[in-house]
Amino acid sequence: MNNLLQTGQRLGRTWGPLLGIAIVAIALLVVAPAVLSPFRLNNLGKYVCWAIAGVGIGLAWGRGGMLVMGQGVFFGLGGYAMAMHLKLEAAMATGGPDAIPDFMVLYGDGTMPGWWEPFRSGPFTLFAILVLPAIAATILGFAIFKRRVKGAYFAILTQALAVAFATLLVATIKQTGGFNGLNQFTQFFGYNLYDPVNKRMIYSIAAVLLIVCLVVVWQLYRSRFGELLVATRDAEERVRFLGHDPANIKLVAFVVAAVMASIGGAMFAPITGIISPSDVDATASIFLIAGVALGGRSLLLGPAIGALAVGFGRTFLSESFPDQWTYFLGLLFIVVILFFPSGLGSSWSQLTSRLRTKEVAR
C-alpha cells in the first residue's frame, strides 16, 4: 500500500508537471484560438510574451533567490533586435535592399548606423535574440556574482540597470527611435503583419515558445543543476563548502532567465506592433515581477499563469476602471507579499499537499 503510494507520488512528480504543461498548451493553442476574437487573441499573445519572461524570472528569483528587477533590459534587447529586423523588412519591401528605416531619414541625417546592417538578415536576428542577452547577462552576472553582490544590492543594481537602459534608448533617437520606439512594421519574415491569419500564426509561435520555455525550465528543475540552484538560494555558503562555485550556478540561471526575457520581447514587437522605452523601463520590469509574485515564483507553472493573469487583469481593469488600475497593481503587491509571500499558487499547493500527505511542502 505504502509502496503503491510512493510509486504514485513518484509518477506524479514526473508526469504531474508535464500534465500541467499539456493543459496550458491545450488552453493556449486549441481553446483560446477557438473561442477568442482576433483582437482578444492578440491581447493574449501579449500576455504570453510577458509570461515567457516570467518563466525566466521564476527560475532566477523563485529557484535561484535572485530578485531580478531589471528584466525589462533583456526583454528590450530581444524586442529591439526583432523590431530592428521588422523595421528593415518594412523599409526593404518598399525601398529595395539598401533602404533604411523611415525615422532615420526624418530625425537623423539619412544614414544608418553600421550595427543595424546585420539585422537585415532574418537568421542573424534570431541568432542575436538568443545570443545578445546571453552575452550581456554573462558579463553583468559575472561581474556581480563573482564579487558576491547579492540580495537587495543585486535587486537595486538590476533596477538601476533598467533605468539606465531606458534612458539610453530615449536619448538615442537617431539610432533607436528614442521615446517613440520602433513601430510601423508591415511584415514578419515575409508574412503580412495585419492579416488576421498571420496574426494568429504569430500568436501560436509565441504560445509554442512559452511551452518550450516551460519544458526547458522543467528539465532544469529536475536536473542536478536545479537542485544546486535551490541549495545555493537556501544556503550559499554550504554549497561553496561542498566544492561548487555558487557564482557559476547563479550565472547560468541568470543567463537562461535573460534569454527567456529576450524571447518574450522578440515576440512582443510583432504582436503589439511597437516596442518603446516604456515597455522595457523600470516600471515595465516591476510589472513583470508582479505576475511572478502572484502566481508563485518557485513553482513551474506559477510564474507563467501569474503573468497571464496580471496581463489580463491590466486590460480588464483598465477597460472597466481606467483610473483605478494603479491602485489595483499597488494593492496586488501589498496583499500578495503580506499574505501569500510565495504566491497564490504555492499557497494552494501547500494546502493540498498538506491535506494529501500531511507532509509540509517547502
Partner: protein, 294 residues
C-alpha cells in the same frame, strides 16, 4: 573657469539632495534590513507639504521655514504609518519589504494624483532664496547653497541624535546587536519606529528642497529613488560617512558628465561607474558590521 565651477557647485547641490534622501534609506536599511522603495514618495509628501504650507502661510519668506518642520512631521508620520501597518510584519525579509513597498509607492503616487491632480502644483521661491552670486562665472543660486546647508544640518542633527541622546544610544545598540540590546531592556520595536520616523522625516525635508527646484508633481519621487539607492549601495552600510562621500561623489560626477555630454548620457555613465566601483569594493566604501552608525 566656469566649465569647472558650474558642474562642481551644481553637482555639490545635487549631491546634498541625494544625501538627504539617502540618509533615511541608509538608516532603515542598516538597522532593520528594510528596503523602502516608497522612500521617494516621502520626498513627494515633503514637496506637497511645502505647497500646502504656502496656501496657509502666504508670506513666502516665512512659509519655507514653516514648511521644513511640517514636512519632517508629515513624511515622518507617513513612514511611521508604513512601519506599523506593513513593514513590522516582515522584518528580516528584505526582498519582501522591497516588493511590498513598490506597491506602496504605486498607491501613494496614484493617491497624490487623485488628491492634487496630475498637474503639478507651483511652489514659490522665497525672496531671500531667489538670486545668485557669481563664483568664477557661475551664477550660483542661493537655493543650491540652501540645499547644501540643509544637508549639513540634517547630517549634524542626526549625528547629535545618535551620539548624545538616549534614543541614539539605543539605536546604535540595536544596530550592533539586536538580541543583546533587547536583553538589556532596549525596546527594539520602539527604536525601530523612531528610526523609521526620523529617516522618513529627513526625506520630507529633502522634498522641501526638491519643491524649490521644480514645484510638486506626483512622480517626483521616482526621479530620485534609484540614485539615492545607488548612493546607499556605493557608500556601504553601517557608516554614515560612506553615504556622505558617495552622495557627493555621485552628484558631482553626474554634473560633470552632464556638462560634457548631456543629462541622459550622464545617468547612464554614472550607473556604469557605480557598477565598476562595486567591482573594486563590493561592500561599498565603508562597512563595519557591528559598529555604530555615527
Amino acid at each position: 573657469m566656469d566649465a569647472f565651477t558650474t558642474p562642481l557647485l551644481a553637482g555639490t547641490a545635487t549631491g546634498a539632495l541625494l544625501l538627504i534622501a539617502a540618509l533615511g534609506l541608509a538608516l532603515t536599511f542598516g538597522q532593520m534590513g528594510v528596503i523602502n522603495m516608497a522612500h521617494g514618495e516621502f520626498l513627494m509628501a515633503g514637496a506637497y507639504t511645502t505647497f500646502l504650507t504656502q496656501q496657509v502661510v502666504t508670506n513666502t519668506d516665512l512659509s519655507i521655514l514653516v514648511a521644513l518642520p511640517a514636512a519632517f512631521v508629515v513624511a515622518g508620520s507617513l513612514g511611521l504609518l508604513l512601519e506599523v501597518s506593513i513593514i513590522s510584519w516582515m522584518y528580516r525579509r528584505p526582498l519582501d519589504t522591497l516588493l511590498v513597498t513598490v506597491g506602496v509607492s504605486l498607491l501613494l503616487q496614484q493617491l497624490a494624483k487623485d488628491i492634487f491632480g496630475a498637474q503639478g502644483d507651483p511652489v514659490q521661491t522665497p525672496g531671500w532664496l531667489d538670486g545668485n552670486i557669481d563664483v568664477f562665472g557661475y551664477h550660483w543660486p542661493y537655493r543650491q547653497m540652501f540645499t547644501i546647508l540643509l544637508a549639513i544640518a540634517a547630517l549634524v542633527g542626526l549625528g547629535l541624535l545618535l551620539k548624545y541622546t538616549a534614543y541614539g544610544r539605543q539605536i546604535r545598540a540595536t544596530v550592533q546587536n539586536r538580541d543583546l540590546a533587547e536583553t538589556m531592556g532596549v525596546s527594539t520595536r520602539t527604536v525601530d519606529r523612531v528610526t523609521f520616523f526620523v529617516g522618513s522625516g529627513l526625506a520630507g525635508v529633502g522634498g522641501v528642497a526638491v519643491s524649490l527646484i521644480s514645484g510638486t508633481n506626483p512622480n517626483l519621487g521616482t526621479t530620485y529613488i534609484i540614485s539615492a539607492f545607488l548612493v546607499v549601495v556605493a557608500g556601504g552600510l553601517g557608516q554614515l560617512k560612506g553615504t556622505v562621500i558617495a552622495a557627493f561623489a555621485v552628484g558631482i560626477v553626474t554634473a560633470f558628465f552632464t556638462d560634457w555630454f548631456n543629462s541622459s548620457m550622464a545617468q547612464v555613465f554614472t550607473f556604469a561607474l557605480v557598477v565598476i566601483f562595486l567591482q573594486l569594493r563590493p561592500q561599498g566604501l565603508f562597512t563595519v558590521r557591528t559598529r555604530g552608525l555615527a
